[in-house]
Amino acid sequence: MFQPTHFTAVLLFALCASTVFGITMRDTPRRMVRYGAYCFVLFIGSTIVLSWVMFLIAR
């Protein structure tokens, strides 16, 4: 059984979803890469920010 940590799961999820978003939402290869990277950073960044928010609320 594959048992990733929560953050590893987020990384894998973001990588796959960003790949599909980048290819399907833009027309040219350059713009696809840029949009995919943008989505990846947003996925990971929002996860880190929300994690800190939940941590601070729980204290």
């Binding site: 594959f2 999820f13 796959c16 599909v20 978003f21 290819i23 399907t24």
Partner: protein
């Protein structure tokens, strides 16, 4: 006074011939196949790798495949799972993903499988748009 019939939105030789929904259906059944049919090998390979990897990781995390639509959440989950096309059908027939969700990781896996199906639908629609000429 007669008027000229409306021209289809799609232009180009490729959009004029063959069954226009073939890339959509092929892309739904096999991730990336719609792009392969249109000669978009790199895009198709990347899409197939991302979607199939996500589906396999979901199963490896012991994620559950939705098998019936007893309530609205199950119905939505099954709709997402069905987006995986043949991956879902083969996995159901092999008995994979039949165990109930008991761990947090298995819950992640369930989400991975549903999202893989939704991403596959997006990829299939993208292949259809390429076929009709809405996207280049």
């Amino acid at each position: 006074m007669s008027t000229a019939p409306n021209k289809p939105a799609a232009t180009g030789k490729q959009a004029q011939q063959g069954f226009v929904y073939l890339p959509l259906i092929a892309g739904w059944l096999v991730p990336g196949a719609g792009h392969f049919l249109l000669g978009k090998w790199v895009r198709g390979t990347l899409l197939a790798a991302a979607i199939i990897a996500m589906f396999i990781m979901g199963l490896a995390m012991q994620g559950k495949l939705y098998t019936s639509a007893q309530d609205i959440l199950s119905l939505l989950g099954m709709a997402g799972d069905l987006g995986n096309g043949l991956l879902y059908i083969v996995s159901r027939s092999m008995g994979w993903g039949a165990q109930p969700t008991q761990t947090t990781v298995a819950d992640y896996g369930k989400v991975f499988i549903v999202v893989a199906g939704l991403l596959n639908i997006i990829a299939a629609v993208d292949a259809h748009n390429l076929r009709t000429g809405r996207k280049s």
